[in-house]
């Protein structure tokens, strides 16, 4: 060990419970009696901050060679009393930071001021990490990469947890689908590793598993606006997030972990007087430049051949003097307090937040309450309790298709007089459609750490995550007994309500024996048992035709129906791990986990997942002689993890339903497969961590090769048995290969200014290697061997002409020449799609990441600029195929007959012949570089903060999603690409095109943070 050896023994008490508090060792748990009473003494006081000027808590400040020391408080301040008079060497040290040493002279009866500014180590080898280990270990012993996000508040102003992850962690793709406030995204780590099952990573909060669904209620067609259960947690109450990315790292989580694991640790209490943190946020959310960015829709009058046009923003503004767009307000208030005694610490926080979308009927209000308690009973026993409560009330924009507002953006047109040009419904009527979700959620966990012997640490975590959602889709009745001319019988009133209750119960026991076999060899032998159960119950109620406007309760409807569902899944797993450390530099790990799951078939025995890992801190070897590289660690890991089949997919089931004479009957439901097992992913990852140029540059590099065998595919069964559905079988194979690089550089460091650069690069290539005999799919988005999951195929016309008598002005489109796979050109008017559809690209980006520049001036002013990029992927969107196909409102298919401008023959041909369904009309290269964040943070001078009684105060201005720096496709067949990330998230992982989702808006906000 390095600096830690210098720490007074009293401070070496490790934090009981790796889950509690910060990942650094002491975590502020205790400052034991430090003082050997002195006759002539003074004191030293000061403050510890990091390079960004943020306070550093839990820093050990001690006098070298003595027993005198203390820990800094959450505001960074420390006080070292009773210091003997004389000159001392004072050291400030915290894991993850480079230690700083100062000479200080203390005289009797005086207090000397001495502050520190710590710089992060490029590679924090002694950092304690928990996720993917049997109870926590130092990062240096970990054979796989583990990403950690700390200081969420300081890094950026997250609106939700998903926003924290956007672009910040290599290999984590956030598929942003909508600009609606309150809606979520889809998270994908290291590409698509399952064809048919959920690719969402597992989510743990304070050691227990929580709902990771991304779909929410099915009651309303929300367009691409899935609820995200991960966003139910308040970023303000989070201390850090650990992410392990693949099977090699997630082996100990077993079945369901092959898509990775995200573990959230909430903030804990600290020793000392209460410290209050308050924050007030105000801001706006809006759609940038709607007049300039949204496309005009065109029509040619069939009689006069005159071109008319319509615009969802400009036309409405000119005609009505107002539009459906607004600058949505955003506000949030939070307050937290932490403190406690060495044996009992607390953290309590609460917040209230409200924001509106850029259409005023999209709103999101949520509040959180959290109480965390840590109790140290004695040296052997401690408890950590976490309790979080959350409520939200979100109103989504989306009424079911076709009653969407976004539909008006691209297929509204002047001929739709009944709706003033809007597509199927006016904004006024849309406000009468309430698509609302109300969620109540509570998550609690209790962690017990028990150390019966010095060499044995056992940990038990129990907890439960419960959520209930009431989702309504209510069409308010508009008139008495008459259907509405625009929305038909829905004008009589219609309500669908879905009540969903979910419960996740976790039990996690682990025991680790740590033994020094010889002075240079130590072992950690671990055993663990995990049990997990989830239940999901739903009631779906429907009513229509209300007697009078104003009625909305289901019992006031003339016709009502009800349906229900219940799903349950249980999993039990045991594991054992052996870690051998040699001289604290070389670590070898072997582990195995066995799982059984209620979803496995009766003929399937337990799933076994082995793991091997090795790591070597070369830079601490005596032979290391590379001056420029002060830290260097090699690591490699190979492991397996699984993903369980759908609940009850192994069981042959019959579904009850009403039958003759109003008595019950059954029908064949699902054909089960008793041999069904989990999908098993094997992964090898190798890489290195390096600190260069005296920790001015930190680099981590990882290369991974992942293969999912036994991938679940639906195989058609012979219908003669009465089952007409498919059956799940473990027959497919997919692979992902890629690399991840993170670079942190202190480019410039002077007394006035610091310039930090963070670059995240991730590359991934996905391929289906075996479909197990299942025929490849057809269509534009395909499942075919040799291509990525959902790879895009469409024809590629290169030229076309107008001729012939069919059109009075231009003739008809002919000689549409298409490029074939072999590069030859053929006339695709004489086509079969099988011949002309060729591979275009993949759904997932080949490269993605971010570049963040931070400029810190005078230690209290920080300017950060973050650009995110996604390169090498395609999307297909109805915004283009629909405007050129069914609705034909794109200029490419109308032209301007009055000016003698012919339509694009290619677009017109595809529109006429294929009804616009041909892929190339909707699909394009979606690569882009986005200006994701510009942030300016100013920390007020302490004296100024003290005037309001605060120990610290800061003001921050943030702008999010400010525009594009570059896009591969700005215009596609005369239509501007508003946002290439708009995609469909609510209907599965592949096979779908973008459809009617509001694009992401822009956020500007100001936040005041005060610490008392």
């Amino acid at each position: 060990m390095r600096k830690l050896a210098m720490v007074p023994p009293a401070l070496m008490l490790m934090l009981p419970g790796a889950l509690g508090g910060t990942p650094v060792m002491p975590g502020g748990l205790t400052a034991p009696p430090l003082l050997a009473r002195q006759e002539a003494a003074g004191a030293i006081t000061g403050r510890v901050i990091d390079q960004a000027g943020q306070p550093c808590a839990a820093v050990q400040v001690f006098i070298t060679g003595s027993q005198l020391g203390t820990l800094s408080r959450p505001d960074g301040s420390y006080l070292l009393p009773n210091v003997p008079a004389g000159t001392h060497t004072l050291t400030a040290s915290r894991i993850g930071y480079r230690s700083e040493t100062r000479e200080v002279t203390v005289t009797q009866g005086t207090t000397v001021a001495m502050s520190f500014q710590l710089r992060e180590e490029a590679i924090a080898l002694d950092e304690l990490v928990v996720t993917g280990t049997p109870g926590g270990t130092q990062r240096r012993a970990l054979g796989n990469e583990l990403a950690m996000i700390q200081n969420l508040d300081a890094a950026k102003p997250p609106a939700n947890i998903e926003e924290v992850l956007v672009g910040r962690v290599s290999g984590v793709n956030m598929i942003q689908g909508t600009g609606q406030v309150g809606a979520g995204n889809r998270v994908r780590i290291r590409g698509i590793s399952s064809i048919t099952l959920n690719n969402q990573p597992l989510i743990y909060v304070d050691g227990i598993r929580v709902d990771n669904s991304s779909g929410g209620s099915t009651v309303a067609t929300r367009g691409p606006a899935p609820a995200s259960r991960m966003n139910d947690f308040d970023p303000g109450e989070i201390d850090r997030i650990e992410i392990v990315k693949g099977a090699a790292a997630a082996t100990l989580y077993g079945t369901e972990a092959s898509a990775g694991v995200i573990q959230i640790f909430t903030k804990r209490g600290s020793t000392g007087a209460p410290t209050f943190d308050a924050a007030i946020t105000n801001g706006v959310y809006y759609f940038r430049d709607p007049a300039g960015r949204i496309n005009w829709n065109y029509q040619v009058d069939p009689k006069t051949r005159e071109l008319t046009k319509w615009h969802v923003y400009t036309t409405a503004l000119e005609r009505d003097g107002y539009t459906a767009f607004q600058t949505g307000p955003k506000q949030g208030y939070s307050l937290s307090v932490r403190g406690g005694e060495p044996n009992l610490r607390y953290y309590v926080s609460g917040n209230w937040a409200y924001q509106e979308g850029y259409v005023d009927w999209n709103t999101d209000q949520r509040n959180h309450l959290r109480g965390n308690l840590d109790a140290l009973v004695n040296e052997k026993l401690d408890f950590s309790l976490s309790l979080g409560i959350m409520q939200s009330n979100t109103r989504f924009d989306a009424a079911p298709n076709p009653y969407t507002f976004y539909g008006s953006w691209y297929v509204g047109n002047a001929r739709r007089t009944a709706t003033k040009g809007y597509y199927t419904i006016t904004p006024e009527l849309l406000r009468e459609v309430e698509n609302r979700s109300r969620v109540n959620r509570s998550t609690w966990s209790l962690t017990t750490n028990y150390r019966p012997f010095t060499w044995l640490h056992s940990r038990l975590i129990v907890g439960r995550d419960q959520a209930s959602e009431v989702a309504d889709l209510l069409w308010h009745p508009l008139a008495v007994g008459a259907s509405n001319p625009v929305i038909g019988i829905k004008g009589l009133g219609e309500k669908t309500r879905e009540n969903t209750r979910s419960q996740y119960t976790s039990l996690d026991y682990s025991a680790t024996a740590t033994v020094n076999v010889t002075p240079g060899v130590n072992t950690k032998t671990s055993f663990g048992l995990q049990y997990y159960k989830n239940e999901r119950e739903g009631d779906k109620l429907y009513g229509q035709n209300f007697a009078l406007p104003g009625l909305s309760a289901l019992d006031a409807a003339s016709v009502t129906t009800a349906a229900g569902s219940f799903l349950e899944n249980a999993s039990i797993g045991v594991y054992a791990q052996e870690e051998v450390g040699l001289n604290n530099r070389v670590f070898l790990t072997a582990a195995v986990r066995g799982d059984d799951n209620s979803a496995f078939g009766s003929s399937f025995n337990a799933a076994i997942y082995p793991k091997f890992a090795a790591t070597w801190v070369l830079s601490e070897e005596t032979f290391w002689n590379v001056a420029a590289v002060n830290t260097f660690r090699l690591r490699a890991a190979w492991g397996m993890a699984g993903r369980q089949p759908d609940v009850f997919a192994a069981t042959t089931l019959y579904a009850p339903q009403p039958g003759p004479l109003d008595k019950p009957m059954v029908r064949p439901g699902a054909m089960g497969n008793p041999d069904l097992g989990p999908e098993v992913s094997k992964e090898l990852e190798i890489g290195f961590d390096a600190g260069l140029f005296d920790d001015r540059v930190g680099v981590t590099f990882t290369h991974y090769r992942q293969k999912t065998k036994d991938a679940l595919l639906q195989v058609p069964v012979s219908m003669a048995g009465g089952f007409t559905s498919s059956r799940w079988e473990n027959i497919g194979e997919i692979q992902n290969r890629g690399f991840e690089v993170t670079l942190d550089a202190h480019v410039l460091s002077t007394s006035v200014a610091q310039w930090d650069l963070n670059v995240v690069v991730a590359g991934n290539r996905n391929k289906v290697t075996d479909l197990g005999g299942v025929p490849p799919s057809t269509g534009n988005s395909r499942l075919a061997e040799g291509y990525s999951v959902g790879a895009w195929f469409w024809s590629e016309p290169v030229s076309g002409e107008w001729t012939g008598p069919a059109d009075p002005l231009y003739g008809k489109p002919v000689n549409i020449m298409c490029k074939l796979a072999d590069g030859s050109i053929k006339d695709c008017t004489k086509w079969s799609r099988a011949e002309f559809d060729i591979y275009q690209g993949d759904r997932e980006p080949h490269y993605q990441g971010s570049v963040t520049n931070s400029l810190i001036l005078w230690d209290n002013l920080t300017l950060s600029v973050q650009a995110n990029y996604k390169l090498g992927f395609f999307v297909s969107s109805c915004e283009f195929s629909c405007t050129m196909g069914l609705h034909q409102v794109a200029y490419a298919v109308t032209g301007d007959p009055g000016k003698g401008i012919a339509p694009d023959p290619i677009a017109r041909w595809a529109s006429n012949i294929r009804g616009g369904a041909e892929g190339f009309l909707g699909g394009f290269d979606a690569s882009s570089v986005r200006l994701q964040l510009v942030s300016l943070n100013y920390t007020l001078p302490s004296a100024l903060a003290a005037k309001v009684g605060a120990s610290r105060a800061s003001i921050r201005l943030d702008g999010t999603n400010l525009g594009f720096i570059w896009r591969a496709t700005e215009v596609h067949y005369t239509r501007k690409v508003i946002d290439p990330d708009v995609t469909q998230l609510n209907a599965g992982d592949y096979g779908n095109s973008g459809f009617m989702g509001l694009p992401p808006g822009t956020s500007l906000q100001a936040t005041v943070n005060v610490t008392f």
Binding site: T652, Y654, P664, A720
Partner: protein, 447 residues
């Protein structure tokens, strides 16, 4: 961190802790921990309990009835009784068009009857095996219930054989059985259904067997069966007001305005007198396509309107078709008399061609939108001129299809026994209809 000596000293306690935890887990039992509830579904084994025999029998009936309404609507639209009034159904209930790709069956799939037919047959076959394993002591009325199960299953097979081009797969992953083979299987089941049948079940089985034998060309056997049917007998498939039990002809032709009765089949007349068997109701509304006015089938005027499955009237027309001549005229007129319609008087009672045409015309009226009979007649006495050609009611070209395909799903699941090119031809010649030496007088289908 401890020393090796510490470890040695404490290891026994450590081992006790680990063993204790493992023992606890074992005591609780993994299986117990992994037990989960499924209150919304029924596991297959529960249907093996004789206490659930009535549930199984009722399910056979319910699945058949769901298939039957889909088959009735689909076959009527496939031939000349129905017209599309919406775009969406063209691929399934379109004129001479039905999808081969549909996998969902009742009640999710309301259009394509083919998967529902397999569902009905497969469940029925399982029920027959299950009832065979139970005893009379275990199941009250076992034989009677089994009689109905056999009849429903046989009806499904018969209807499949009458419409699907090449045949049916009768065993999971088994070979394709051609249409006569399927009809033979249906005949066997109808015969078995007579065992333990009461009067109603017997009549149901007899009408079914008569129709099957007629399809097989066994005219003598068909007439003999039909002759045993009790006068006035009629048996319906039943429907209800919940979505799983809807009469789909009502929902599509009346409530949802998706189809209309074709102009040539509306309110037909006999010598100027309105034929009550083909009553249609003018809705005075456009269909979903906004261009075809809706005329609905009068006898299906509610969600729960029954659809006739077997009757003495059908038996009379089976006898008429089998025997032709004066007996056919008498049977036709006996039926017409009950409707107060003018009687039929042939130009030449010995002109088999004319009499056969008259019987088929009568069947067209009697079985108006009922059980696929008209499609069966058009296929049994195939003449391409009797089928629609050109453009459909949506202005789209009518497909070149005369009978129904083997589902793609079965072909995908069963590649050993089924060739991928199975569905290229969809011609009546594939159905192996027996020839009886008499061709109906041309033009019968237009009446």
């Amino acid at each position: 961190m401890s020393t090796f000596l510490d470890w040695t000293r404490d290891r026994r306690r450590y081992i006790r802790v680990v063993v204790g935890v493992v023992a606890m887990a074992t005591l609780v039992g993994c299986d117990k921990l992994l037990e989960v509830d499924l209150p919304g579904q029924i596991e297959s084994t529960k249907l093996e309990d004789p206490q659930n025999a009535e549930l199984v029998a009722r399910s056979v009936q319910g699945l058949f009835e769901c298939f039957y309404t889909s088959h009735t609507g689909g076959s009527s639209s496939f031939v000349d009784e129905g017209w599309l009034a919406s775009q969406r159904a063209r691929g399934d209930w379109g004129v001479r068009s039905i999808g081969a790709g549909g996998g969902a069956a009742c009640p999710q799939e309301t259009w394509n009857p083919i998967p529902s037919a397999y569902q009905s047959y497969g469940f029925g076959a399982r029920a027959i095996r299950q009832f065979g394993q139970w005893t009379d002591a275990q199941v009250p009325n076992r034989k009677l219930l089994l009689s109905y199960i056999r009849s429903y299953t046989a009806y499904t097979l018969m209807l499949m054989a009458e419409t699907i081009c090449r045949g049916v797969v009768l065993e999971e992953y088994g070979p394709l059985v051609n249409n006569p083979g399927v009809l033979k299987k249906a005949e066997e089941l109808f015969t078995a259904a007579l065992d333990g049948a009461d009067a109603q079940a017997r009549n149901l089985a007899l009408v079914g067997r008569a129709r099957t034998r007629l399809d097989l060309g066994d005219l003598t056997g068909a007439a003999a069966d039909a002759g045993q049917v009790t006068a006035g007998f009629s048996y319906n498939a039943t429907y209800g007001s919940v979505p799983e039990r809807y009469n789909r002809v009502y929902t599509e032709y009346w409530r949802d305005l998706a189809f209309t009765v074709a102009p040539a089949r509306r309110n037909l007349k006999v010598n100027g007198v309105l034929d009550p068997r083909t009553l249609t109701v003018e809705q005075k509304k456009f269909g979903q396509d906004g261009k075809n006015l809706i005329w609905s089938v009068a006898k299906y005027n509610s969600l729960s309107s029954p659809i006739r499955l077997a009757s003495w009237r059908e038996a009379q027309l089976i006898i008429a078709e089998a025997r032709l001549g004066q007996e056919a005229v008498a049977r036709i007129n006996a039926l017409r008399a009950t409707y107060n319609l003018p009687l039929y008087s042939p130009a030449d009672v010995n002109d088999k061609s004319e009499i056969l045409a008259a019987v088929l015309i009568e069947r067209g009226r009697e079985f108006f939108f009922e059980g696929g009979n008209r499609m069966n007649d058009l296929l049994r006495y195939f003449d391409a001129d009797d089928w629609q050609h050109g453009l459909d009611s949506q202005g789209a070209p009518i497909y070149d299809m005369y009978c129904w395909p083997i589902p793609d799903r079965e072909i995908d699941a069963n590649p050993k026994n089924l060739n991928l090119d199975m569905n290229i031809e969809r011609l009546p010649s594939q159905m192996n209809h027996p020839t009886r030496g008499v061709v109906p007088k041309k033009g019968w289908a237009a009446n």
